[in-house]
């Protein structure tokens, strides 16, 4: 055990810190979950890409640095420490890309990954449907074979598609075998949202941003080259993504460490009138962010030794999502009767609180996650 960083890791951190301090936009960009803001964020992603900070863990050939998982964590720590903007490319680089690396063809990787990393092509996910939320296997959207044109014709509705109104492409599951039920007979498609038959309707979220979208597909043609993995095997293909979605990459400790530090600073600014129980909540949030950091180093060390992570990922998702809620709740308590303001200096906390409230819901509700922990980590009967 050696809890100091290697010289390489320290050098990597120093380089990242220097570049971020020099380049993180000031003042902060507008929300990337609005049409105006999204454009600014694409520029920022382009700047990250040009400096090879967009996808540090990817191969150099695709714009990365072949960084280790540990270096990736260090980058994340520095990114949020520097107040770096949200990553509007997140669904592509963290959810789709791992699947492409694992199951995509060389042609798909070469064609898709570089534009994804540079934000030239932005991606949104198309999992949920009106009747397929927690129960993803309830997917009804279908794809019919079009041999004449060498592809498929997709129809149906996807919903809660984050930034779907601004993104270029969508990845998701469609039912290719109408006879098959539940998890069977699904195929993983990559869909061009500019294609004929696609209608996207923005949906306003709690915080007022049009960060959601409903995507309606009517007989939309998708060529065979945009099928990811084997036909009818979409569930197995998607699991790689939801695995990583619940796992390491979606919300690394760096953002919570940065938020906990901001919370501690907010406490100091309000220390004179802060309630003692709120002080304790600040301390606990800070400790929990640190606990998440060390639990992650523990896991990453195992992974770098060739180990694997499985259903434990559900513990991680429960932990960060509920920490994020407590952390912002505590900030609002510090702000007291001024917490409700959404146009003041501290309005970011109310915005962050509303964002945090989505954590226990998306990527598998925490009720589902606790079932997974009980059944697959502890081995309790499914019933």
């Amino acid at each position: 055990m050696d809890l100091t960083f290697t010289e390489e890791e320290q050098a990597f951190r120093a380089e990242a810190r220097a570049w971020l301090e020099a380049n993180v936009p000031r003042p902060a960009l507008p929300s990337g979950d609005t049409r105006e803001g999204f454009a600014f964020h694409k520029e920022w992603e382009r700047a990250l890409f040009d400096a090879r900070w967009a996808v540090v863990s990817w191969p150099q050939g695709y714009g990365g640095r072949d960084a280790t998982l540990m270096e990736w964590l260090i980058f994340e720590e520095e990114y949020y420490r520097a107040g770096g903007p949200q990553r509007v490319t997140q669904n592509g680089i963290f959810l789709l890309a791992p699947t492409l690396f694992e199951l995509g063809t060389k042609e798909q990787q070469d064609r898709i990954l570089p534009k994804m990393a540079s934000a030239e092509e932005t991606w949104c996910q198309g999992w949920s449907e009106p009747n397929a939320g927690s129960d993803l296997a309830g997917i009804k959207s279908r794809a019919v074979r079009d041999d004449a044109n060498g592809g498929w014709r997709l129809s149906g509705q996807k919903t809660w598609t984050t930034r779907g109104a601004f993104c270029d492409r969508l990845f998701g599951l469609f039912r290719t075998d109408p006879e098959a039920e539940r998890h069977r007979g699904l195929t993983y498609f990559l869909v061009d949202l500019q294609a004929d038959g696609v209608t996207v309707r923005p949906v306003e979220r709690l915080d007022g941003d049009e960060g959601f979208a409903e995507v309606f597909l009517e007989d939309v043609f998708v060529p065979d080259r945009d099928v990811l993995g084997a036909v009818h095997e979409g569930w197995r293909v998607a699991m790689a993504t939801t695995g990583s979605e619940r796992g390491l990459t979606l919300r690394s400790p760096g953002r919570f460490m940065a938020a906990a530090d901001r919370l501690a600073a907010l406490y100091r600014a309000h220390a004179d009138h802060a309630d003692a129980t709120v002080r304790d909540a600040v301390v606990r949030a800070w400790i929990d962010a640190d606990a998440y950091r060390w639990q992650t180093f523990w896991t990453v060390t195992r992974l770098m030794d060739g180990g694997r992570t499985g259903p434990e990922a559900s513990l991680v998702k429960i932990f960060w999502s509920e920490l994020d809620v407590r952390l912002h709740e505590t900030a609002l308590q510090l702000l007291g009767s001024r917490a409700e303001l959404v146009d003041g200096d501290e309005a970011g906390w109310m915005k962050g609180w509303q964002f945090a409230l989505s954590g226990p819901i998306y990527a598998g509700t925490n009720e589902i996650q606790r079932n997974v922990v009980a059944e697959r980590v502890l081995g309790l009967p499914r019933r």
Binding site: S134, V203, F212, L332, E340, L357
Partner: protein
């Protein structure tokens, strides 16, 4: 010991509930997010119905009632998320007005709001008068600012008031506590209904034990917060010396019940509840705002704590 409302009080509650169900559906609250005043347009009719003038003397056209007559009506305005400064006007200000103004206020010809310790005046821009410290001033020099609850229009005073009369603060805190009970009840009902309809995995999500227990916890918080609110209303109506302690208990537990109801409602609804197209957010955001106004749970718990822990004898329970 008789802890129940009179038939008259229940009848008036039912009347106001029916009126608001019909006249203040979620659409009215939603419209208040975007209209000029942030208000419902129902103020004059609330005056006609006598809701605004419950605490006004009959001689001035009021109902000549006390806080027990008012508390259930305020609970209903919470249930409907009525976008009006009704707690400020009907619960805080009315008892402080001279005869000329009280009649106009009871009739709804005037709208009078209050500058709370935070200096954030609800509906200050559209009010005729603002109670600032112990005087009524024109709402001039107020700075508009934006609340997370778009139907709750806030205006900041140049400086917060120097002092607030403790009885006025208690009436405000308890009025808001009553609204929080109504909001919590509304969100619980909405969520129970949704949990019965919404199916996943081939069954209503309300049949999952985790959902059941979330909702049972909300029912629990409501069941034990509500009597504290009614008890404190009695204490105010009867000038009980311990009313600040009783109000503190009521506001603390009512604030927590409403915040819990909102959390559970959102979690059980999932993504649909996370959209502004769905009505839940109208009630949830009101609950966030009111739970923190006129003293949050921690502030009122401290207030109660000073009374029960920092004196040598605990207030005799009788």
């Amino acid at each position: 010991m008789r802890f129940a409302f009179s038939d008259e009080q229940m009848a008036m509650r039912d009347g106001v509930r029916g009126f608001l169900e019909h006249e203040c559906p979620p659409k009215v609250v939603r419209d208040a997010w975007t209209n000029d005043t942030g208000r419902s347009g129902l103020w004059p009719r609330l005056g006609e119905m006598g809701v605004l003038g419950v605490l006004a003397p009959e001689a001035q056209g009021g109902f000549g009632g006390d806080f027990l007559d008012l508390v259930l009506l305020l609970e209903e305005t919470g249930r409907a998320a009525l976008p009006e400064p009704i707690v400020e006007h009907a619960a805080v200000v009315l008892p402080l007005l001279d005869d000329e103004r009280v009649a106009a206020a009871a009739a709804g010809d005037l709208t009078i709001t209050v500058a709370p310790p935070s200096g954030l005046v609800a509906y200050g821009g559209d009010a005729d008068l603002v109670l600032f410290d112990d005087e009524f001033v024109e709402p001039s020099a107020l700075q508009a600012c934006e609340s997370v609850d778009g139907s709750r229009r806030l205006f900041a005073t140049a400086a917060p008031p120097a002092s607030i009369d403790v009885d006025a603060l208690d009436r405000a805190a308890l009025g808001v506590a009553a609204q929080l009970i109504g909001l919590a009840d509304r969100m619980l009902t909405m969520t129970v209904d949704y949990a019965k309809e919404r199916h996943q995995f081939g069954v209503p999500i309300g049949s999952f034990q985790a959902v059941k227990h979330h909702l049972a916890n909300v029912a629990l918080a409501l069941e034990f917060a509500r009597p504290l609110v009614y008890r404190a209303a009695w204490s105010i109506a009867n000038g009980d010396d311990a009313r600040p302690v009783h109000v503190g208990m009521a506001k603390a537990r009512a604030s927590e019940a409403a915040l819990l109801a909102g959390r559970v409602a959102l979690q059980v609804h999932g993504a649909i509840g996370y959209t502004t197209e769905y009505d839940l957010h109208l009630f949830m955001k009101r609950a966030w705002a009111l739970a923190a106004s006129w003293g949050d749970a921690a502030w009122h718990d401290d207030r109660v704590g000073r009374a029960i822990l920092d004196s040598d004898t605990i207030p005799e329970e009788q």
